[in-house]
């Protein structure tokens, strides 16, 4: 009892009488604090320097275009390769066209920083279990949008729909469930791909950008340059 009194005497309880809230959006409206800038400097130099590291080479210009492009094929192939190393049942890969953030990469040296520019978002490689009927819908969806980068899948755009869809070289079967690699952005219904949202998926935890870097580095380790071609993965009906 005496103890309790002592404690209470020590700290007189206080009660909330009111509160207010607000938030600040951080930007250059606040001057950069010089001691923080100084602390960060060596790390920033490190990051900037690392981003200039050459991770490989491309023999050809990497160009973003529709319905198919060298830049798109590189990204879709890199995504497929990484997904297949995680789950060998993955048969196809799709890149949302809007997620390709550079229109053109010159032939020659490829830096790590260029991969960050190409894919600045931390989109995560996701393997979606897609019934054939949904994959058909996905191909139609891409056909309406004039063709997105793909790998492992081919089709022909005919009257704004996808015809002659082949998966791993075989005609699409509506009753088979295909494992398709894509970014979590699109898997979660981004770009109005709402029909993908309810499908079963595995989040690999791998950034798509890291899959691209790894793809270029693995080629370089074998002294191979990037050389994506236009292979008529997607074409317009004649």
């Amino acid at each position: 009892m005496a103890m309790a009194t002592f404690l209470n005497a020590c700290h007189k309880p206080l009660f909330i009488s009111s509160h207010t809230n607000q938030f600040y959006t951080i930007s250059n409206r606040y001057a950069a604090d010089s001691s923080m800038v100084q602390m960060l400097r060596p790390y920033k130099i490190g990051v900037d320097t690392q981003m200039q590291v050459v991770i490989g080479y491309s023999d050809v210009p990497l160009t973003k275009a529709q319905p198919e492009s060298t830049l798109g094929n590189f990204m879709a192939d890199a995504q497929l390769k990484k997904a297949q190393s995680i789950d060998k049942k993955v048969v196809g890969s799709v890149v949302n066209y809007g997620g390709v953030r550079l229109p053109y990469v010159a032939p020659g040296a490829l830096t790590r920083g260029k991969m960050y520019e190409l894919m600045p978002f931390d989109n995560v490689l996701t393997i979606v279990e897609m019934p054939g009927s949904d994959l058909r819908q996905f191909c139609d969806f891409m056909a309406v949008r004039k063709g997105w980068p793909i790998s492992g899948i081919t089709y022909v755009i005919k009257d704004k729909t996808a015809a002659n869809i082949l998966v791993d070289g075989l005609p699409l079967n509506d009753n088979i469930v295909y494992k398709i690699a894509m970014g979590d952005y699109i898997a979660n219904g981004g770009d109005n791909a709402d029909f993908i949202r309810p499908l079963k998926r595995k989040n690999t935890g791998v950034f798509i950008r890291d899959a691209m870097i790894e793809y270029v580095e693995q080629l370089q380790a074998k002294n191979i340059h990037l050389h994506p071609n236009i292979e008529k993965r997607v074409k317009y009906a004649e």
Partner: protein, 310 residues
């Protein structure tokens, strides 16, 4: 007409002056107002520099050097500040890939963070990776529901910390998200996840009754809304007993206004979260007094003034 308007204007000003003048008398009567400012971030994800000016959504926003200036200016205006972070300090820019969290910890130390909790991405370099960076942190890592026994973090975190801010005693504790299925098994290793609501109520009760805290803050990385999980900040708030404020993270939720809920005892709990990447700094200003009746005010009608965009 003209003169009447002037009179009304004058009257309003006079009223404000009278109200302002009332405070010193209250002080003399022993019911002084005590102020506490809470500043908070969550899910900064290694975003040390502002987003690049590349036409993307948040271009030019964020940046620790800019945040430092803001925090310093707030500290100049107000005496009692607590600066807190709700986890996912790591992962998201090349800084983390290259330096494994060292500049993030140094930046938070330089800004004077008082405490932080761990998010799932803080396990991305493994328990060992996070433990290794703690030498660069001059603030405690609070987590009441991860048991790190027999891991590299054993003895390096604490469930809670109390702070004396003037006459106000504040208790802060941390809660982490279930790691299984979210973080690779070998990254969290032998870390044991404990049921968060039970641990929260147990910790908050201790802060209230044994530590005699006036104000109890939970730093939570459970996520604001369901996100397909059993527990989240909204559920925690309703199931809690002694928590006054939940500073959340994980779901990258930009709340323009905090969410006001009733706890198990029908007392107010506030949940707040400020998105991610250090784009925003959240601020809550509390006033305390020793009037018993104010406890009722708190339970019935907390005044939440409209926030101002800063």
């Amino acid at each position: 007409m003209q003169s009447r308007r002037s009179f009304l204007k004058l009257g309003a000003t006079g009223g404000a002056l009278l109200l302002g003048g009332a405070f010193p008398f209250e002080s003399l009567a022993g019911s002084a107002i005590h102020k506490l400012t809470i500043l908070h971030t969550n899910d900064v994800h290694s975003r040390l520099e502002p987003f690049p000016l590349d036409g993307s959504k948040y271009q030019g926003e964020g940046g620790v050097a800019e945040r430092t200036s803001l925090i310093n200016s707030i500290r100049k205006e107000t005496e009692h500040v607590l600066l807190l972070d709700a986890g996912d300090i790591f992962q998201g820019t090349p800084y983390f890939n290259l330096f494994k969290g060292e500049p993030e910890m140094k930046a938070m130390s330089l800004m004077g963070y008082d405490a932080a909790t761990m998010g799932n991405h803080d396990f991305d370099a493994g328990v060992e990776g996070f433990a290794k960076q703690l030498v660069h942190a001059n603030f405690p890592i609070l987590t009441a529901n991860y048991d790190f026994t027999a891991t590299a973090l054993e003895g390096k975190t604490q469930p809670y910390k109390t702070f004396k801010k003037g006459a106000i005693k504040v208790g802060v504790f941390g809660l982490g998200i279930e790691l299984k299925g979210l973080v690779p098994d070998d990254a969290y290793g032998k870390t044991v996840y404990l049921e968060p609501i039970q641990m929260a109520n147990r910790t908050a009760e201790r802060l209230k009754k044994e530590e005699k805290c006036d104000f109890i803050i939970c730093l939570s990385h459970l996520g604001y809304h369901s996100n397909g999980r059993k527990v989240n900040d909204l559920i925690l708030a309703k199931e809690s007993e002694n928590i006054d404020l939940i500073i959340g993270g994980h779901t990258h939720t930009f709340l323009d206004e905090p969410t006001l809920l009733k706890n198990k005892k029908q007392k107010d709990v506030i949940v707040n979260q400020v998105g991610w990447a250090g784009i925003r700094l959240g601020r809550l200003d509390y006033e305390f007094d020793s009037k018993k009746s104010s406890k009722l005010t708190n339970a019935q009608s907390v005044i939440v003034r409209k926030q101002t965009r800063g």
